[in-house]
């Protein structure tokens, strides 16, 4: 039963990644593109956690923690670059 639910959840998040990619390509403003990138990072974190349940290994938590950190820092630095023209002043 967990296998079916895992397949469903992995399918949902993968479809979400495709939708985010559509918004990343189409998005009219830079803010939409930044938002699509941030959502792609969050969906990738969810996929990594589901992969950890699928394989039964705990090493994916460190990977997803690193993904969360790098995604947050990259989003904030991209926003800072657009707002101020520089990242670290």
């Amino acid at each position: 039963m967990i296998g079916y639910a895992l397949t469903f959840a992995i399918g949902c998040f993968s479809l979400g990644l495709i939708l985010n990619l559509w918004r990343l390509v189409r998005g009219p403003n830079p803010s939409d593109r930044i938002l699509a990138l941030d959502t792609m990072a969050i969906n990738a974190i969810a996929l990594l956690i589901l992969m950890g349940i699928w394989l039964g290994s705990a090493i994916f938590f460190e990977v997803s923690m690193l993904f969360a950190l790098v995604g947050f820092v990259s989003t904030v630095s991209y926003c800072r670059f657009i707002l101020r023209g520089d990242i670290i002043e």
Partner: protein, 141 residues
């Protein structure tokens, strides 16, 4: 694995998948950049939270120990997603809106994207060069 754990993990996995899909679909479907900001930063974060709870219950049922990694990731995501939403909203205000188009804020305050973040991107007011060579301003680090 006991039956209650299987039911709980399945329930949270289905909830997580539905919320993640709703968040990503809202990013495509909603018409306006400021409304588009709502779907991913709230629904998708909730979806990741559901997946983390499912993972926590799963590893408690199979290995018999409570792991705190998931709690760390949950706390980090729930702390950072409002900050990214605020930054993206500021980028949108800074680039696409003028202060006349927005509703007036409270007395004595202004909108954050305009007053504090004054000059446009990449352009600064450099002090005049004492040698008189104003054609090539230096980028101050």
């Amino acid at each position: 694995m006991p039956f209650w754990a299987e039911i709980t993990v399945t329930l949270f996995l289905v909830i997580a998948g539905l919320f993640g899909l709703v968040g990503s679909y809202g990013l495509v479907r909603l018409p306006d950049p400021m409304t588009r900001l709502h779907a991913p930063t709230k629904a998708t974060t909730l979806g990741v939270g559901g997946a983390l709870i499912a993972s926590m219950v799963f590893f408690y049922a199979t290995e018999g120990r409570v792991s705190t990694h998931e709690l760390l990731i949950t706390v980090f995501l729930f702390l950072t997603s409002p900050i990214t939403a605020l930054f993206i909203a500021k980028v949108h205000l800074h680039q696409r809106e003028t202060p006349d188009d927005l509703p007036t804020p409270a007395e004595g305050t202004g909108w954050a994207g305009f007053a504090a973040e004054g000059p446009a991107r990449g352009v600064r007011d450099f002090p005049p060069d004492p040698a008189g060579d104003t054609a090539t301003p230096e980028i101050s680090r």
